[in-house]
Symmetry: C3
Subunit: 355 residues, 3 copies
Amino acid sequence: MNLNTINNCPGDSRFFKKSAPIALEQIIGTSEAKFVPAYNGRDKSFDLMGIAPLQSATQNEVSFLDNKRYIDLLSQTKAGLIIVSPAFADKIPHHSHALVTKNPYLEWARIASLFYPKSSVQAGIHSSACIDSTAQIDDEVEIQEFVVIKANVKIGKGSIIGSHTVIEQGVEIGENCRIGSHVSLSCAILGNRITLYPGVRIGQDGFGFAISEHGFLSVPQIGKVILKDDVEIGSNSTIDRGSVRDTVIGEGSRIDNLVQIGHNVQMGKCCIVVAQAGISGSTRLEDFVTIAAQAGLIGHIHIGEHARIGAQCGVMSDIDAKSDVIGSPAMPFREFFRNVAFLRRLVKSSSKEKE
Amino acid sequence: MNLNTINNCPGDSRFFKKSAPIALEQIIGTSEAKFVPAYNGRDKSFDLMGIAPLQSATQNEVSFLDNKRYIDLLSQTKAGLIIVSPAFADKIPHHSHALVTKNPYLEWARIASLFYPKSSVQAGIHSSACIDSTAQIDDEVEIQEFVVIKANVKIGKGSIIGSHTVIEQGVEIGENCRIGSHVSLSCAILGNRITLYPGVRIGQDGFGFAISEHGFLSVPQIGKVILKDDVEIGSNSTIDRGSVRDTVIGEGSRIDNLVQIGHNVQMGKCCIVVAQAGISGSTRLEDFVTIAAQAGLIGHIHIGEHARIGAQCGVMSDIDAKSDVIGSPAMPFREFFRNVAFLRRLVKSSSKEKE
Amino acid sequence: MNLNTINNCPGDSRFFKKSAPIALEQIIGTSEAKFVPAYNGRDKSFDLMGIAPLQSATQNEVSFLDNKRYIDLLSQTKAGLIIVSPAFADKIPHHSHALVTKNPYLEWARIASLFYPKSSVQAGIHSSACIDSTAQIDDEVEIQEFVVIKANVKIGKGSIIGSHTVIEQGVEIGENCRIGSHVSLSCAILGNRITLYPGVRIGQDGFGFAISEHGFLSVPQIGKVILKDDVEIGSNSTIDRGSVRDTVIGEGSRIDNLVQIGHNVQMGKCCIVVAQAGISGSTRLEDFVTIAAQAGLIGHIHIGEHARIGAQCGVMSDIDAKSDVIGSPAMPFREFFRNVAFLRRLVKSSSKEKE
């Protein structure tokens, strides 16, 4: 049935509302990239109708090349405007205009957002929502179906609360936040422009208990979770509240899906934590730290500014600023791959000796 | 209290509705396995009442042996009918009939499904559900409590939508699907006979953003998620929608719990992805690929047909068809275990030298 | 906006209700630890107002030291009462009373719970909940917004069911349980004093299917999940029901966030499973087993009493009682770290030879 109707083009109108046309000259005019007109002399006073990958872009669409893995696509594209780095500028087809910039992906993000702006707020509270009478909700907030909002919650202007989300007592949410469906929020203070994807769990008890002869005794967890401005948290990720101080996620940090953040973790600004990574309790990350997928950090350690932790890395001790580590236990990237190559050669030569 | 009433037999009637009795001859008649009558001459015109493990099965129940780890249980069982592979056929007790087949687990699946057929649809929409007036829902669909269905959603005949599930605008669901409770579905097209377990998140934004001096800028994600016929997705797994093309899960593929699938991933048919594995963006899997638990694949790579990726494997480059790999970075199974053994010997002999 | 109002002290009154004051003499009187009065002669007949970390505690607050990493804070604290181990007893500042005990964290848990007792039940069923008429719910149960309770469910005295939780047919829940929001419960029997955090999925089908030439065939999963008394399960964790017997979590065991437990797993009492770990089907854990974060266990193996499995460990075979293992494949702690150090030395000396 419906699989016959699949349209593999981006921007399927069943799901996405496009803001088009946009004049090419308007896009050029607002860009900091260098404009290089088409070698075939094509006029630049025409309208662009949208964005598309190199393979399917038409002469009225914008495309980009960021990854040299896909460079062969450049010669074949029909795109009317292409965003590229200087390294590929001489490979642009003659019929395409170009924007040349050191950070093509950033320019792509900017232009794509012109065609697909963030959804706007439909202010109002759905009649099925349960809102405590003491909650302070700005008039320009959208509250969707079956939302539960408990006592003394505050929600700022321009925020959207998705269906079925539960906001427990005292939680404060800033302005222009996007809270997805099925989110659980407790003991938390959120800044502005925060995005939480569906199924995020924020503010539940940390994994804290004392061990006695008779079993385990829970330790009351009386800290909060603080999400600073512009933080994003991916689907089904979990962030526990602090035990005696707060769990803090710094400005602009981005956390992917299925990530675990333990109690008392302090994360600086603009950190990146990729899917299924985990950070144990009381560990501190300075600004601009990157943690790749499935990496794990033990508790009570310190990660310096701009450090990069590789995928599946097991970090058992402090990491210096600007270090690149991988492996379990974590070691410098170069050391890890040297060890791997060394062991491979050693085993091979040893097998040959036996022959 | 209620723990005293625990009944450790399978098929507890509080939870499961059994279709019984079924005549032994009917089960034999519909089987492609070889029937071997009981050596003690027991008649085959009797009814079977259900299924059970070897330990507890009675003379009116079916059981099976699949794993040679449990072969000792075979001599002790009272089961009336046993499904086994040819290798164990001479170990069947004298009082048991047998079905002998190269794939006993498949035969077990078939027979167990006769006793415990899939739950049937209770057509109708629960009065608490919020359904947009533009949604096209077949009359023979079951919509449970507090479901939210937004504009232009389509749902085909015979499908069940579990409590609290949210289906965002434009999503299409085929026939005979089983969507569990608390599921979030957006920007997605689903085929027929698809099963989504509770808490699955489909179609949210991928982890895509550009890095500027001032922080991160989100890239609009304008692809979809396409789940082809017979796909199953386990609890709390997350599948992000494509960025400029679609994320696709091929026919019959099975994904376990807490799995992460990044944007633009293309998965072939009959792939298996075990719990807590993760596949990064734009990676392509051909048909019949198996990914074991907690394995991780980086983005933009290609995995050939019938490749098998071991548990906790870290895959950083393309994998050939029919390869078996494990380790981090991934290497052939044999190499991995040879390296492990080699290193162990080397360390041991080196310690001895020092003594 | 609200970020300016952040109060980094523990026990923020927006979220936590404190039971204070409590007389110091009452706390001493109920403690099994040794009381050591302040060297400066401060009277002990005063009231304590709460708990705090060493850095911020006042003379009317309790604090503790557990981790020698933080010992420098001891000399600077103003806390009126400090809980410490005998090793640090001589470092207590002159103005502080002390409780000296071999297990300071346990004493901390006890005293903190006096100030922050568990939330009490607000008996009653919210008007928005959908409760089947055959459900047996004790009068002293709290049922929150949009809860769904299906046929023949039983819930014991003193339990709280959080908003949006779905309890499928036949499930039984004991007394004094705390079921969080957005939980899915099916085919399960729960003991007393059980805590499930938001988004937990219990009792869905295990990952069981037979492989045929034409694709996969699901095997009916007809076991249950049994959670014994005092079990806790962290946010978004998933526990599949048994295939032909039950999945069992033993008394007092604690499972952290995002953990996967496969079908038929048998876990003894007082086990600990840290975040993002996974246990494959039919594996058995004896009592007091600890599994650290992101570890993975294959199926059908046996883990002896008091064994400890390190973070990211890959366990592929049985583990003896009281063993400490780490690495993938798992090996004794000492061997793992010896191998790591050995390989590092070997590579280093080999590089030097080449120079």
